[in-house]
């Protein structure tokens, strides 16, 4: 991995050097063209300057490879799996709506320790503890919370200011156009169930790796489905659970089923 990083850095330095050389050569060509009134040289100079400047401008400064992203995310996920294993809970986590939280912009998952538990009172959640005593459960920060915040940033609004229909209508913009983590997003509402289909998901490998951590996958979901659950909880103002998440290989699609709970 460090060798790959060094190669990448070397490649980037080389690219910048080539672009700078193009700009310099272009400016020299333009000066010579002006001196000798050569239109051919002027065309060459103009093109070299333009393409050189373009190469310098279009290179993203903060780009990391998807492998690096996956490598840094998985240790946190493994820790969460260990925590869930030690608590011996395998019930679905509930994404709490903003009214339960101290900070309306954040998100929180409540993992119950026994089946059919009622949700904890907002006062208990606002104490920001790791464990809930009445009822017994665990509070976790969703792995997709920051991704959902990034989506909000790209949309220049908060999910809390949108209703469900508006959210589902505007969801493709941050996912497909801005963050480019999917080729297409399809949504469907059936009563209290929402199905979101994401085609050509760039975080697919991360989701596959998360499936290898069964407790985490069942309780919290992968970062992308978690981010969407955070968005749904904020938008509907109701608790949300991830009912199912599957990969359809033939269609290159990730299908996630959410359930909106009535409190």
């Amino acid at each position: 991995m460090p060798e790959e990083k060094t190669n990448r850095l070397r490649q980037r330095t080389l690219n910048r050097a080539i672009a700078s050389s193009l700009v310099s050569l272009g400016i020299v060509s333009l000066l010579v063209a002006s001196t000798y009134s050569s239109s051919t040289l002027a065309f060459i100079g103009l093109s070299l300057t333009f393409w050189g400047a373009l190469l310098l401008y279009v290179t993203p400064s903060k780009q990391v490879s998807i492998e690096l992203l996956e490598a840094t995310t998985m240790s946190g996920a493994a820790n969460m799996e260990k925590l869930l294993e030690s608590m011996e809970t395998s019930f679905k986590g509930v994404y709490l709506p903003p009214r339960f939280l101290k900070d309306f912009d954040s998100s929180l998952i409540y993992v119950p320790f026994t089946e059919d538990q009622h949700l904890p009172l907002p006062e208990e959640v606002k104490e920001e503890k790791l464990f809930s005593k009445n009822p017994n459960g665990l509070f976790l920060t969703p792995p997709g919370m920051d991704l959902s915040k990034l989506m909000e940033k790209k949309l220049e609004t908060s999910f809390t200011r949108m209703n469900l229909e508006e959210l589902l209508q505007r969801l493709p913009k941050p996912l497909v156009e801005d963050l480019e983590i999917a080729q297409d997003v399809n949504t469907q509402i059936e009563g209290n169930s929402i199905t979101i289909e994401i085609t050509d998901n760039a975080l697919k490998n991360l989701c596959t790796e998360t499936r290898k951590l069964p407790k985490l996958h069942k309780t919290v979901g992968c970062p992308l489905s978690s981010a969407l659950a955070c968005a749904l909880a904020k938008s509907t103002g109701k608790p949300v659970t991830i009912e199912n998440e599957e990969e359809i290989q033939e269609k290159k699609t990730t299908k996630i089923l959410y359930h909106i709970k009535e409190d």
Binding site: S34, F43, L46, Y57, V58, P60, A202
Partner: protein, 70 residues
């Protein structure tokens, strides 16, 4: 010392550059990790559109000059 390109030359250059950039921006892969040259697709598309607009601007100036001459 005089710049050797005429208005028409610049207009032609803008048209060719805009077409090349627009095609590149549309065909480029969104998966940066697999390429050696990392490119911000959105910036490239914006530049392509700007070049296209500049070309259309030169066309508008030409049309205006033709109309006012006649």
């Amino acid at each position: 010392m005089e710049f050797p390109l005429t208005f028409s030359d610049i207009s032609l250059w803008l048209a060719v550059t805009a077409i090349v950039l627009l095609i590149t921006a549309e065909l480029i892969s969104p998966y940066y990790g697999l390429t050696n040259l990392e490119i911000d697709r959105k910036k490239l598309r914006n530049i392509a559109l700007t070049m296209g607009m500049l070309f259309l601007g030169t066309v508008a100036i030409r049309i205006y000059s033709i109309i006012t001459q006649t």
